[in-house]
């Protein structure tokens, strides 16, 4: 009797699951948008999505659902190229979205010019997260290569955030007295000698530093550092702003082939435009990303100190050049560990 019951239950579960699978394939569910994003934006988009679905319902009377998918920026781009039906991509670097254009041919080449601010509705910078009281007295990039300092940063081959870290370090070394590509190379090589764990994504690196207690300093997105500090309390970690950092501009785009196929272009475009509204810019600032709207930026000025920033276009001639010089096979990063 017991076994028969169990079999019924299992059968029922299987049938329910099967019908859901088939149901999804037929698109029987209400309109759902998929946002494929990078690692540390979970909290941000949870709030944005809630706000936007309410907005859209009030405006059009249509209930929608926005699903989020998070992972390393490169991994997400690859998933989209391989056929993940993401309506919008909100990734860590323009390079990853360029690849969606180049490899997947899913978006037009001029994708970045379709939205204001190079399609980057928010920006961030790279900062240092150190342990309470900054016991190793880490103030600037030069302190990271002192003996006995452990640095946590993810693998730039797989993590968009790590690429920003790497380029920020490179930019600092270039701007030192007598700085050249050779001294910058020597500096990053030294820097990675101090990295005990190479996680594949930014969130993983945060966990390694914060929860596992590995290393003395975490190179992180400002948003990730502020989030960690806020969740853990200032008695656990502190943020150090280095003398030079890089302005990270995580871009967003509609995936044209997907939205045209699914008929979701109107919602997807409204969703991305919503990111630039005052309401959403404030959500963005509350989630520790630097808003691109000047009025919102002024309102939250106390939260985001002024730091001397380089941009990827000025310092490296754009993402494609930076990628080729540093992160492609045989690039400067490969010279650290050898191929």
């Amino acid at each position: 009797m017991r076994t028969v019951n169990r079999r019924h239950v299992l059968g029922g579960m299987a049938a329910a699951f099967g019908s859901r699978l088939i149901g999804a394939a037929h698109g029987a569910a209400p309109v759902a948008l998929l946002n494929a994003s990078y690692d540390p934006t979970r909290e941000l988009y949870e709030m944005v999505n809630k706000s936007f679905t309410a907005h859209w319902l009030a405006q059009t009377g249509q209930p929608i659902e926005i699903r989020q998918s998070h992972g390393g920026s490169g991994k997400q781009a690859r998933a989209i190229i391989d056929g993940l039906q993401a309506d919008v991509a909100t990734l860590a670097t323009a390079y990853d979205i360029n690849e969606i254009c180049r490899q997947g041919k899913l978006i037009p080449q001029n994708w970045a010019s379709r939205l204001p601010n190079n399609s980057a509705p928010y920006t961030s910078i790279i900062v240092f997260l150190v342990r309470r009281g900054n016991p190793k007295n880490i103030r600037d990039w030069g302190d990271l290569t002192r003996p006995g300092v452990g640095v946590i940063t993810p693998n730039p081959k797989s993590s968009g955030g790590a690429r920003w870290n790497y380029l920020a370090a490179w930019a600092w070394a270039l701007r030192q007295n007598g700085g050249s590509n050779a001294t910058a190379q020597a500096y990053v090589e030294q820097l990675y000698q101090h990295v005990p764990v190479l996680d594949s994504g930014a969130r993983g690196a945060t966990v390694t530093f914060v929860d596992r207690g590995i290393g003395d300093v975490l190179l992180a997105w400002e948003n990730e550092a502020l989030l960690a500090k806020n969740q853990l309390g200032p008695d656990k970690v502190e943020i150090v702003f280095p003398s030079i950092s890089i302005l990270a501009e995580p871009p967003v785009t509609v995936i044209d082939k997907v939205v045209d196929h699914r008929g979701t272009r109107a919602i997807a475009e409204a969703y991305l435009n919503f990111l630039y509204t005052r309401e959403c810019q404030r959500l963005i600032a509350q989630n520790y990303y630097r808003p691109c709207d000047p009025a919102t930026a002024a309102e939250f000025a106390a939260r985001f100190p002024q730091v001397r920033l380089v941009t990827i276009d000025d310092a490296f001639g754009g993402w494609d050049k930076a990628q080729a010089a540093h992160f492609d096979d045989g690039g400067s990063f490969d010279q650290i560990y050898g191929q």
């Binding site: 990295v195 594949s200 191929q339």
Partner: protein
């Protein structure tokens, strides 16, 4: 002598009639064979051959170049070495666990028996996170080991620990039924004939469980070689030190180098297959020797 016609069932009248008369040894032979071929093709053969097709884009020279870079070689060495070590360690402890579960009666035995299956059921990422939390220098176990200078998380030892975790049930579950069927009378007979406990174990018990033990180790090993989810959390992923081959594949994929990724996959596939064949051969040899005696 008149049976060969039965082996190849054709959908014509006479065969059907003959099968109804109970003459057929394997009922539904055609149907099951068809199912097997279709299912295995769809799930295993076609996806795997896609890896080979993709790799073929590289050409032989580039292929060799990709798979013999020091980083790839180091990762392959780590993946196969750590998996083998984990499987062998589990061979010893899995045997002891299986023995205890089959032979001993102790409180909580059923619970322990069920716990063995956890690595099957648990998402391996969860296991990886849990193991890392335990073995990190600030974790429960890591804290105890740190004063002795033993580091587990973020070292090669951590990789072995994670692989031992995922491969344990394969060895225990393969051994259990075989140990259960062992005839205790034979052990008693050995005892009455004056064999010591060690002699009984070496010359009576082990020879009969040897093939199952090998199978278990082989299964555990092959499970460990492909493991990704749990290892990336505990390994530290430093190139040439704690970077496993599956992570190397993932890294290549994330750089949009599909054919290079599949090239490493092909090397893993072929090596695993060769190893499995070798172990199978060993097993057949062991069985043959047992029968010969």
């Amino acid at each position: 002598m008149s049976t060969p016609a039965v082996a190849i069932p054709l959908a014509d009248g006479p065969t059907k009639r003959r099968s109804r008369s109970g003459f057929r040894v394997l009922p539904g032979f055609g149907l099951t064979l068809g199912c097997t071929i279709t299912y295995v093709s769809l799930l295993v053969l076609v996806p795997l051959s896609a890896a080979f097709v993709r790799t073929a884009e590289l050409g032989p020279r580039k292929f060799l170049q990709v798979v013999t870079t020091p980083r790839v070689l180091a990762s392959l060495e780590l993946s196969f070495g750590a998996s083998l070590l984990a499987a062998v360690i589990n061979g010893v402890f899995g045997f002891i666990i299986a023995w205890a579960l089959v032979r001993q009666r102790f409180p909580g035995r059923r619970l322990f028996d069920a716990i063995i299956d956890l690595p099957f059921a648990l998402p391996t990422a969860v296991a990886g996170i849990a193991l890392t939390a335990l073995y990190a220098p600030n974790g429960w176990i890591g804290q105890l080991l740190a004063p002795w200078g033993i580091k587990v998380a973020y070292t090669r030892l951590g990789v072995v620990v994670a692989l031992a975790f995922v491969s344990l049930p394969f060895i225990v579950r393969t051994l259990q039924p075989v140990l259960g069927e062992l005839d205790r009378e034979v052990e008693r007979a050995a005892e009455t004939l004056g064999a010591s406990r060690l002699q009984t174990l070496m010359w009576v018990v082990l020879p009969s469980v040897w093939p199952a033990l090998l199978t278990g180790i082989a299964l555990g090993f092959s499970r460990a070689v492909g493991e990704y989810g749990s290892v990336i959390f505990i390994a530290g992923n430093i190139p040439k030190v704690t970077e496993i081959a599956p992570l190397m594949i993932m890294t290549k994929l994330e750089q949009y180098q599909y054919s290079q990724a599949t090239a490493i996959a092909v090397v893993m596939l072929v090596s695993s297959f060769a190893l499995m064949l070798g172990i199978n051969g060993l097993q057949i040899w062991a069985q043959g020797r047992r029968r010969a005696r």
